[in-house]
Each structure stands twice: as structure tokens, then as C-alpha cells.
Amino acid sequence: MASEFLSSIHREFLSNIEKESIFSHISRGKRLDGRDLLEMRKLELIPNCIEKAEGSCIAKLGKTSVLAGIKISVGPPYPDTPNQGAFVVNMETMPIASPSFELGPPNEIGIEYARVVDRSIRSSNFIKLEDLVVEPEKYVYVMFIDIYPINDHGNLVDAAFYATLGALLTTRIPKVEIGDKGPVILKNETKPLSLNIELMPIQLTYAKILDKIVLDPTHQEELVSGYKLTLAISKNDLVATQKSGAGVLDIDDFLAAVRDLKERSNLIKDLVLKQTLG
């Protein structure tokens, strides 16, 4: 019996004519949707779309859209970080976004993408976790970041990342008082989540198709790609790398992708801040 996660994923097919048409465009340096190889689709963020969530955002990357929401509770800190708040990233994979998803616990892809987004955010130190302490060593804020893909037209992992970023940028932390029976959350008194804006990570995904590298692959491009490479940078450092897919990667392609991301990061950062904080 195959491991449960392999059998939970439907295999998707692309007709040969679609495949060949993607290949012939890419070999000429163009893509089916008219983009250049290293051109991203339009990124659009719609923050504060769920009033009951402490933070929320829809991210659209062309036709791909993802909703992220944040709920906050108070609990004991992790034993190894007694003076830091905590956060957890989870991504559901309901059949809403793609016919290849099924009902049930998150599939392998949902788990991988949630963990990649978590690493991009966590290792950049974007969230000031030391400011999320209610009572040192006893109570800290715990943020649950849950991601729901709405439409998978390719590159869900980046859409999930920007939805998370948008939600974090607009999250409001409720005040907490310690009563006799433990902590009480005061929903009406809130303040913005404290963030290191200058360390804000920027994540992009590249895909290898034929001998070319394309940025922000569509759903069809993902099906014919050898591998996808998700990278995140913060200031001048690479903070997350994930090669996904069974293709082989050349060192020079990796280094070129890092350089490309570095060149684009400031522009994307400005776009994200403008669309969320105004």
C-alpha cells in the first residue's frame, strides 16, 4: 500500500498538444499567457476581508487566489523559548481550489507549502516574537495562521506567502489581562502586531521548463516543469530555500535565481506595503 499522502493526490494530466505548445513558446522565450520568462503575474492583496479574524488577507497572483486568516489565543510558551510568542502556519487543501485536492487532512502539498511559508517568515525574524509575551515564562500570544487556497492557477506557495504577509501586516493584537482564572482576552482593545518591517521577507518561486527558468509558474507550467525552486530573502540574506519536484538543479541556475529575487525584492516589498498599510 502506498503511503497515504501519495494516494491522496490525484494525478493530473496535460494533453500533448498543450504540453508542446508550452514548450514551443518557452523555447522562444515567451509563455502561453504572453509573459516573459522572468515576469511575474499581477500581485493583488485585499487585507481585512474577514472581520472576525485578528488578521486576514486575500492574495491574488493572476487567477490564483488564496485566503489567509489569523486567530490569536494566549497559552504557555514553548519550553525552549519562554520569552517569545509563538505562531503556527497551516494550509488546508480542500477541493475548492483544485480538482486534485480531496477532503480530509491537508495533503503532502499543503503540508509542504505551509512549512515553506513558515520558514520564510520565521527565519527572517519579521515578527517580533519577543513582543508577544503576556507574562514572561507563563503566558504568551499564540498566533494560528491558517491558509485556504481558493483557486489554484499555479504557484499556490507564493500566493499563500503573500496572503500570510498581508494578514500579518494588518493583524491587531487584543489586550490580555491576567485574572484569577487565568488570562482574559479583551477583544475591544487592540494594537497592531509588532513587526520588523525592514526585515520583511520576499518569497518567489521559479520553475525549470526545458532548459529555461520561468518565474511564477502557472498551473499548466507546473505540470510540465522539472522542479520548482522557492526562495525567500530578507535584506541581503537568503532565508529560505525549497527545491520541490523530481527534476535536477544546476548550481548556476540556483545562484541566478537568487540574484533575480534580490533585484526584484524592493519593488515587491513596496507593492505589498502599499496594498496593505496604504
Partner: protein, 247 residues
């Protein structure tokens, strides 16, 4: 093993040009490889790297179950990475964690390019990696073990897959991180098809200066070449000893 050390002490040791466990920066931990140790499996390998111990078993090519996931053009590769409950300091729950699910996927994708899956349409090849003891580098040890088990099972391969984790500690690049280094520095697991110079696994999740990336990768490749030689030697020794016993 469970030696605790402060960050200052750790830095001081690095400044003296050594590592917490006494190794030089580019020195691997002792590697011990045993092949064919599970009699009921087509391929098996116990791979030890320092205190890390991984047992890997290969079954197949066999019938694809469930049948609907069979691929008419190639074999399906199924990989499961699991940790023993007693492999870590604190008992690990036997239910597969999200980490184990992700690692099963990246290990599968690291091995897949090496296997001639197209030789076995509609079939399935199964790889099971069990971490007996975890002391950093369990995914890289699993890949090294799995590739050898596949070779021992007689499954046609383009090349072995060889893997190592390099660390970036306070400006120093170290090879084959141990658990203390894993906690305090960035570790970058890499797997390659050494004969083709192609990368099949690459992950990172700490701050790494962009201008040091190329140096980090070339350090990793040197270590991979060393492990590759040990893998080939283990395979040769296994075949020589199994022919010696006759039949």
C-alpha cells in the same frame, strides 16, 4: 551526546578553528555502512553518520497498490520517512508529524532523478527510511542509505544519490552538522547525483549571506564526493563478499 553548551562557548571553540565535537570545519563524522541486513527485503542499508543511525529498506518493483495511481509510462516511487519514538531526547509520538510528511516528499524527489523508473511501467518501488537514532542530518543519511539500498536491490540507477548537510555558523562554513550545530546555526541539506554534478535536494531556513552561497555549495560538493567514494566502496565490498559465499 546530549551535551549542553552556551552560545559563547560555542563561538569560542569555532574561533579556535575547531568544532564542538573536535572535528575540523570540513571533516565528516565517522561513516559506517552495512548493506543487505534485512533478509526479507530486496534492498536494505544501515547508514550511520556519527550518532545518527538510519535503516532503509527497498521493496519492489512490485504491483502498484492502489492500482489507480499506477502510471502507464513509469514506475511510481513511494517513500516513507519515519522516526523511532526513542530516536530523540524527548519521546517522539509514533503518529507521523508534518515534518515527516514533508521529508518523505523531499527524499522521494531527491531519489527520483536517479532511478530508471521508465523501465517498470505500472509498477511501484517502495522505499522505507526509519531513523533509529537522530543526531542531525537524518534526511541526508536517509538519502545516502536509500540510494545504496536501491542499488543493492538491483534497481537500475543513473547514479547514486549522495547527500550532506553543510552548516553556516557565525561566518564559518562547516560540513556534516552535528546536533549542537544544528540548533545554533544554519544548516543546508544538499543531495546530488555526483557523476552528473546535478542537485536533487536543496533546502535552507536560516539567514545565509547571498555572497557566500557559492562557497557554501562548493564546500558541500567536496564532502559529497568523499561520501560518494565511501558508498561505492561499500557496494563493491558487499558484492565481493556475497559472491565469495558461493551460489
Amino acid at each position: 551526546m546530549s551535551l549542553k553548551i552556551s552560545e559563547e562557548e560555542f563561538k569560542k571553540i569555532l574561533e579556535s578553528g575547531k568544532r564542538v565535537d573536535g572535528r575540523a570545519f570540513t571533516e565528516l563524522r565517522p561513516i559506517n555502512i552495512r548493506l543487505g541486513i534485512v533478509e526479507r527485503a530486496e534492498g536494505s542499508c544501515l547508514f550511520e553518520m556519527g550518532h545518527t543511525k538510519v535503516l532503509c529498506v527497498v521493496r519492489g518493483p512490485t504491483e502498484c497498490v492502489p492500482a489507480y495511481i499506477a502510471d502507464p509510462e513509469r514506475a511510481v516511487l513511494d517513500v516513507a520517512y519515519r522516526m523511532c519514538t526513542f530516536s530523540t531526547e524527548e519521546r517522539k509520538s509514533p503518529t507521523p508529524s508534518r515534518r515527516e510528511v514533508e521529508l518523505s516528499k523531499v527524499i522521494r524527489e531527491a531519489l527520483e532523478p536517479s532511478i530508471l523508473l521508465e523501465e517498470f511501467p505500472r509498477m511501484m518501488i517502495k522505499v522505507y527510511c526509519l531513523v533509529l537514532q537522530a543526531d542531525a542530518g537524518t534526511r541526508t543519511a536517509s538519502i545516502n542509505a536509500a540510494s545504496l539500498a536501491l542499488a543493492q536491490a538491483g534497481i537500475p540507477l543513473r547514479d547514486l544519490v549522495t547527500s550532506v548537510a553543510v552548516g553556516y555558523c557565525y561566518g564559518n562554513i562547516v560540513v556534516d552538522v552535528c546536533s549542537i550545530e544544528d540548533e545554533l546555526c544554519a544548516d543546508i541539506p544538499i543531495a546530488m547525483l555526483p557523476a552528473y554534478r546535478k542537485i536533487t535536494l536543496l533546502q535552507s531556513d536560516h539567514r545565509l549571506p547571498i555572497d557566500r552561497l557559492s562557497e557554501i555549495l562548493s564546500t558541500a560538493i567536496k564532502a559529497i564526493d568523499q561520501i560518494y567514494e565511501l558508498q561505492k566502496k561499500a557496494l563493491k565490498e558487499y558484492y565481493l563478499s556475497s559472491t565469495k559465499t558461493g551460489d
